[in-house]
């Protein structure tokens, strides 16, 4: 934006407010007036909503920090990826800055690079097949709770090489879904208790792997040598949680939104079936259009000026990925799904050093889910009247529940998940 037109808009629109609905309509309006604006919500924070402004700021991690500071109960939390900061341990690597960030990210990269991600296709397909077997004879499925949430969680556990028992699959998967929407509801207590239980399971998995290395990524990490030696138990648990949290709610939000869309736009659905090669570009367009993570916070490290806005050290900035992905200056017809949109420089997976570690795995998840659903339940339709959305535009643009119906079919296996 040229200097002379720079101005700072102040609004009471609070994208971080859990009660706010209608952000889809408000964001683009605000963005047109001001690519960077100030919200008076919470304790006041900046919002970067324009594409060029946001990408430049996200690349500048030295000015816009992700580091989270909170050690123990009673500490005042600062920084991190959420407005306002929450009293909880930092997720690593996402809530760290270099040099710490580099230590973890470089360790994880090879396991999520394109070739490694592709190699997990078989595992993901097995889980998808079993989950569909469990519902195929009923002709009814909750796409979110009975399919994409357990699919992503259980596949990730298998990739990590962490064993779970048949009767505990729900406990391993549902809390990662609830985490994104249940805050402030009755469900949240159970969700936190289950997450604690998962931490304990991961702790036991570290002991097991230290005694004798098990196959899978977690075993490899337990024995990995970094410049500072082996990872601590706490670091290993934190990384395990991050890989689960990072992949489950996000991919679930993406696929659930996509299936709702493909129940409305049947022409688009048919095109994807007739022209399977279109799927690569379409996946990216769905990530842009739905922006499963629609915002991530940063904290200003030193006083700076962006687009005429004077930001002070310590202030939070919400990077509104979902808004940047609808910036008409970069995406013509931004509010329309164009299956083969090209060029498509979306920031749905983020931008700069923290860009999604799991983006190639997410693409594998999506491909398998789409293929399995369209092959085994070709006439599936979401029952829109029963769809339940998250109450707000929190950081994940997701759905609580997405019931759908289809013509019943036959099992191909036992439906066992463990």
């Amino acid at each position: 934006m040229p200097e002379d037109t720079a101005q700072v808009c102040v609004t009471d629109f609070d994208p971080a407010d859990v009660d706010y609905a209608g952000w889809r309509e408000r964001f683009p309006d605000l963005q047109k007036q001001c690519p960077v604006f100030k919200s008076t919500g919470q304790n006041g924070y900046w919002v970067a909503a324009g594409y060029p402004e946001l990408t430049e700021m996200m690349r500048d991690w030295e000015t816009f920090s992700s580091a989270k500071h909170w050690e123990k109960e009673g500490d005042v939390p600062t920084g991190g990826n959420v407005v306002p900061p929450v009293p909880a341990r930092a997720f690593i690597p996402v809530e760290t800055d270099p040099p710490k960030w580099k230590k973890y990210r470089f360790l994880l990269n090879p396991f999520f690079a394109p070739k490694a991600a592709k190699s997990y296709t078989g595992v993901v397909t097995e889980v998808a097949t079993a989950l569909i077997d469990r519902v195929i004879e009923k002709g009814e499925v909750d796409i979110t709770r009975d399919f994409t949430n357990p699919l992503t969680a259980l596949s990730t556990l298998r990739i990590l090489g962490i064993n779970y028992s048949e009767d505990e699959w729900r406990r391993w998967s549902l809390p990662f879904h609830q985490l994104a929407y249940a805050r402030g509801t009755e469900e949240f207590g159970q969700c936190l208790a289950d997450l604690e239980w998962i931490r304990q399971q991961l702790s036991a998995a570290v002991d097991l792997n230290w005694a004798e290395q098990q196959p899978g990524l977690f075993g490899t990490l337990c024995h990995a040598n970094t410049a500072e030696g082996k990872l601590s138990k706490q670091e290993l648990i934190d990384i395990g949680m991050m890989v689960l949290v990072g992949g489950v709610g996000t991919t679930t939000a993406l696929f659930s939104n996509t299936m709702i869309y493909l129940s409305q736009d049947l022409e688009a659905r048919q095109r994807l079936i007739d022209e399977p090669e279109l799927l690569d570009k379409a996946k990216e367009e769905f990530v842009r259009y739905f922006s499963p993570i629609n915002s991530q916070a940063r904290t200003v490290t030193h006083d700076t000026e962006v687009c005429g806005a004077s930001m002070k050290a310590g202030e939070q900035v919400l990077m509104a990925l979902g808004a940047a992905n609808r910036d008409e200056r970069v995406f013509p017809d931004a509010d329309t799904v164009i299956l083969d949109r090209m060029p498509n420089p979306h920031v749905g997976f983020g931008a700069g050093i923290h860009r999604c570690l799991g983006s190639f795995l997410a693409r594998v998840f999506f491909e398998v889910m789409f293929r399995e659903v369209m092959t085994r339940m070709p006439d599936i339709m979401v029952d829109e009247a029963r769809v339940r959305r998250f109450p707000s535009a929190t950081s994940v643009n997701g759905l609580i529940s997405v019931p759908a119906t289809f013509t019943p079919g036959h099992k191909v296996g036992s439906g066992a998940l463990a």
Partner: protein, 63 residues
């Protein structure tokens, strides 16, 4: 037209390969891009232009 990837900016978004798989490949270590050839044949110039404009990091340079 010649093309290169600035590895200081590339973070492995993979959008370049989607736009022009004939030229761009991603490595197995970290998913960062490299070019399979620096000289762009005329028939691929359009696709390379799409790659340049699809990279959120501005990491692809033509010269």
């Amino acid at each position: 037209m010649k093309v290169r990837v600035n590895d200081d900016r590339c973070v492995g978004q993979g959008m370049c390969r989607l736009a022009c798989p004939e030229i761009f490949e991603l490595n197995d270590e970290d998913g960062h891009a490299y070019v399979k050839m620096t000289d762009v044949p005329p028939e691929l110039e359009h696709a390379v232009d799409h790659a340049v404009r699809s990279c959120p990091e501005g990491a692809i340079e033509t010269y």
